[in-house]
């Protein structure tokens, strides 16, 4: 019975991953992250992804603040933030977020405020979608680990 639910959870996880790959939300780099996770570093993927969430939310907030500034919009700073977001998205395999950053950056290089605002909307939407899907993925993974009775790191104080 335990085996059945573990299999089902693994199937759920694979299905979700397949969907995200198919949608282009994730790319092979995400698989690379998973391959780097092992017994010596069992939480590697979630660690890195959580850092990504923190950084991205900070950058998105900064981008919005820069765009609200109508008078002296600092497009150069915007470009810097976008480069950062692009880089980290590429590093975790967040393919669609990275692609939106590229389009956003093109707009900022042309000081196209309207274009930037539209791109920011899309970026925020893509990011939210990615975040919710990755949370789903981690939840399934956690259930699978718990259910299978695999050694679960106990906090020893």
């Amino acid at each position: 019975m335990l085996g059945f639910s573990a299999d089902r959870l693994r199937a759920d996880m694979n299905r979700l991953l397949a969907l995200l790959f198919h949608q282009g939300v994730l790319d092979e780099q995400f698989l690379q992250l998973q391959q780097l996770q092992d017994e010596s570093s069992p939480n590697f993927v979630s660690e890195v992804v959580n850092i990504y969430f923190q950084e991205s939310e900070r950058l998105l907030k900064n981008l919005r603040a820069l765009l609200i500034e109508r008078e002296l919009t600092d497009y150069k700073k915007m470009g810097n933030h976008l480069n950062q977001l692009m880089g980290s998205s590429s590093s975790i395999g967040a393919n669609r977020v990275r692609n939106v950053c590229i389009a956003f950056r093109a707009n900022s290089e042309q000081s196209n405020r309207a274009g930037c605002l539209r791109a920011l909307e899309v970026l925020e939407h893509e990011y939210c979608y990615l975040k919710s899907k990755l949370h789903e993925l981690f939840q399934i993974e956690q259930q699978r680990v718990l259910g299978a009775g695999v050694r679960y790191p106990m906090q020893q104080n």
């Binding site: 780099q29 690379q32 992250l33 391959q35 780097l36 092992d38 010596s40 570093s41 590697f44 660690e47 890195v48 850092i51 990504y52 950084e55 480069n83 950062q84 692009m86 880089g87 980290s88 590429s90 590093s91 975790i92 395999g93």
Partner: protein, 220 residues
């Protein structure tokens, strides 16, 4: 605590992005490297400078165990390779590369550059001219990290050759004086030092002496 310097190669990774530092650290550790990560070129130089300073202390007093040195906890630490991001605020990867290659004690350390975008060829050729071994396009993969060993081994071999030829370790300033002395004393050819004015030429000579001869070296 003394760490055996030969059992694991030590890589210094430089990147201002926390995620990329985590990634490169994991990639390197998975490949059995010892890793130190820093978030800027200046911190990298600081780290390398500590080693450099300690080595200089060692050179001056080879017999003493330099227990007065405040850097004693770096005793056995050496860096076998530097891998650095190109685009960083402040000191870029290129600036760091130049500083390393300009330093007499650090220039033998191989440097690899990572870049998140394809560098225009004029930039990449400048890097190669300055002594970078190669580029990795980010995100860096395991297959990239597998390419690092040859660069490290090439340098290790060079260093070993240097050690085996020199009976005592010397600074470069002292070796020029010694060379002059030796020319007067007509030393045996195995101990002859290559001229240190042209570093490149000197190294080639040492390599040739090592590889070609089983006994007496014929190259001057």
């Amino acid at each position: 605590m003394v760490m055996a310097a030969d059992s694991q190669f030590h890589v210094l990774a430089v990147d201002d992005s926390l995620i990329d530092r985590k990634l490169i650290e994991r990639l390197l550790k998975t490949s059995s490297y010892q890793v130190t990560t820093v978030d800027s070129g200046s911190k990298a130089l600081e780290f390398l400078g500590l080693i450099e300073e300690h080595q200089r202390t060692n050179f001056k007093s080879p017999s003493s165990s330099s227990s007065s040195s405040s850097n004693i906890h770096h005793q056995e630490v050496e860096v076998n390779l530097i891998i650095t991001d190109y685009c960083m605020p402040g000191m870029t990867g290129f600036d760091l590369l130049k500083k390393v290659k300009e330093s007499t004690s650090l220039r033998n350390i191989p440097v690899v550059i990572m870049s998140s975008e394809n560098l225009p060829s004029r930039i990449s050729s400048r890097c190669l001219e300055e002594g970078a071994e190669e580029f990795f396009l980010k995100p860096v993969r395991l297959c990239d990290v597998n390419k690092l060993k040859p660069h490290i081994m090439k340098t290790k071999l060079k260093d070993q050759n240097q050690e085996e030829e020199e009976e005592t370790t010397e600074t470069e300033f002292e070796s020029v004086e010694k060379q002059q002395q030796q020319q007067i004393q007509m030393n045996s050819s195995n101990k002859r030092k290559a001229g240190m004015d042209e570093e490149g030429v000197g190294e080639d000579r040492r390599r040739r002496i090592r590889y070609n001869s089983n006994g007496v070296a014929t190259v001057n």
